[in-house]
Amino acid sequence: MSKLTEQLVVETVDLTKNYDKTTVVDKLNLRIEEGDIFGFLGPNGAGKTTTILMLLGLTEPTSGTAHIYGYNSTREPLKVKRITGYVPEKVGFYEDLTASYNLAYTARLNGLPEDLVTKRVNESLGTVGLSHVAEQQVGEFSRGMKQRLAIADILIKMPKVAILDEPTSGIDPEGIVQMLDLIADIAKEIKMTVIMCSHQLYQVQRICNRVGILVNGKLVVEGLLDQLGREALGGGRLRIEVKLTEITSKLIDCIKRISGIVSVERSGDLLLITCLEDLRPKIAKAIIDANGLLVEMKIQRYALEDIYRKYFREA
């Protein structure tokens, strides 16, 4: 599929925001495609929230443009907001009103006809598993429940894009996993593109397929998670760790003969193999052919943290 036919969900061109001479977002060029779950990473104060506010037309860029589904965020904010669901970092509800009332208000603000309001509210609450507390005041909700309610709140308008600013902050670890899975499930089910801001890396790694790292208002790196990982770990190479009962030089030679192997090093009872692609099946076969006894073979998984640290240090 060519890139041209794919609809760009988010596109910013030289998006810049200055506050009293400090540049918070600096000529940002961001492209997010349909169906992506995009992890928007960066340390605190990197300009993530400011970028989001500009995408939603809640603040005006100093220069440059932002588009969501082709709509100019600054000039057509209503069209943008109709298709975009936004969960702000410290999302709040009217605490003395019930969950369903809060959602019904959102539904009415989105211009849903009255007969659809209740139906949509019940569906959304059902999706996030809050049906049983629909008539309870939001003030009685736990932090995790409020976050789930926030997801239900954006589902009311059936958005094409969801922008989630730190959707997991303040939730317990188990809640975080549930929350992330919920987001991923919904995204798949209603074909919603997700932009998730976070500085908690393993969360992003869990559900995102693309990431962008923003440091000091600049996008230092952007791309598919797999690619970035390999680039971070030694120029697109993979490392495979092999544990054998006995290591002989004959065996090492056999492995070296496989095409695609860059180097084989010995370290104790381990062999550290660097290769250009995942050659585990071939390596296993070579070891067995050479009568070696294979105990364990591990491919070194890059962690997003490695990517993050690498680019963060560079910036």
């Binding site: 939603l56 702000p88 709040g92 509800f93 003395d96 603000l109």
Partner: protein, 324 residues
């Protein structure tokens, strides 16, 4: 437009179902009843005045006097409305209109919906004004009902017209206080700050402005030991001009002229409030003349209200709303 109406209905429902709204309503009810029926309220006083109608010029507008007559220890209904009820209702309805939504994180969510931003501030203002209107209607109807039941005086057509006008300008006056409170709620993030600011302004105008006016007059036109009429007049003139800085005074004068047609000029308001009709003119003003007299007052209150709202509006529209 749809967004505006949605915000409006929600805010209106909030005003009528929240504790704040219920307490305000109870206050309005209590004040209306006590000002008229209280142990030494207007009714008692009016009974005596009706017995000698010619002396006080009460006769033709007996029904209206229910609103302006004070009792022995109890101020009149319009005193309560002017000094206390309308300012408090306006301020309490508006003091956290914008900043509480910012603080609780609902504002970001609200503005992420496909509505124009001004729908939020317009809807809130409109809901406040309508709430004030409903409360004033209740208060006026209670006083009228008591008048009808206890005194047995029915209002004439001019009296009804004057009451309706009074109702209208009271709403405008309420809108002023609401606008003031909302202005502070746009500018100040902590609710305590916005509350103290608007209540402070109310207290200043309500309690200290008259003192400030008297001292200004005494400095600019000092009175001798045995003041001449010219001295008294100029001193008094400055006093009135200075006190008209206060919207409370402006509205008080306008309301009195509307409801007490015996009053001839706006300045007589001062006597009205103090000497209970000592300088009463025998021939009442026609409705048209009354309106002519209070027109500058209304234009001023309306102008200030519009300016206050415009400042809040512009600030709110340009503001960047962050959830943190």
């Amino acid at each position: 437009m749809k967004g505006l109406m949605t915000v409006f209905y929600k805010e209106l429902a909030d005003h009528f179902t929240s504790w704040r709204g219920i307490i305000l309503f109870i206050t309005v009810l209590l004040v209306s009843v006590f000002a008229t029926l209280g142990p030494s309220g207007a009714i008692e006083n009016l009974r005596q005045q009706l017995a000698t109608p010619v002396q006080y010029g009460v006769g033709r507008f007996a029904f209206l006097y229910l609103f302006t007559t004070s009792g022995e220890d109890m101020p009149s209904f319009i005193w309560f409305i002017t000094r206390f009820l309308v300012p408090i209702v306006g301020i309490v309805l508006g003091l956290d209109a914008i900043n509480s939504e910012k603080n609780s994180g609902t504002m970001s969510r609200l503005l992420a919906q496909p509505i124009y931003r001004d729908a939020v501030i317009n809807g809130k203002f409109l809901a406040g004004v309508v709430t004030i209107a409903i409360m004033l209607t209740t208060a006026i109807l209670i006083v009228s009902a008591i008048g009808l039941a206890v005194l047995g005086v029915a209002p004439g057509s001019e009296e009804i017209a004057r009451l309706l006008l009074f109702w209208g300008i009271s709403i405008l006056y309420g809108a002023f206080w609401l606008g003031l409170a909302m202005l502070f709620s746009v500018y100040f993030r902590p609710v305590a700050a916005s509350a103290v600011s608007s209540l402070g302004i109310w207290m200043f105008f309500s309690f200290f402005m008259s003192m400030a006016a008297v001292s200004t007059a005494n400095i600019l036109a000092p009175l001798s030991q045995t003041p001449t009429t010219a001295e008294l007049l100029s001193n008094y003139g400055i006093q009135i001009t200075a006190s008209r800085i206060s919207p409370i005074m402006l509205f008080g004068e306008a309301a009195t002229i509307l409801l007490a047609p015996g009053a001839r000029t706006a300045g007589e308001m001062l006597q009205l409030l103090t000497a209970s009709g000592a300088l009463w003119m025998p021939g009442p003003l026609s409705l048209g003349q009354s309106l002519l007299t209070i027109w500058p007052h209304l234009a001023t209150i309306g102008g200030i209200t519009a300016a206050l709202f415009a400042i809040s509006y512009i600030r709110f529209m340009r503001e960047e709303i962050r959830s943190t």
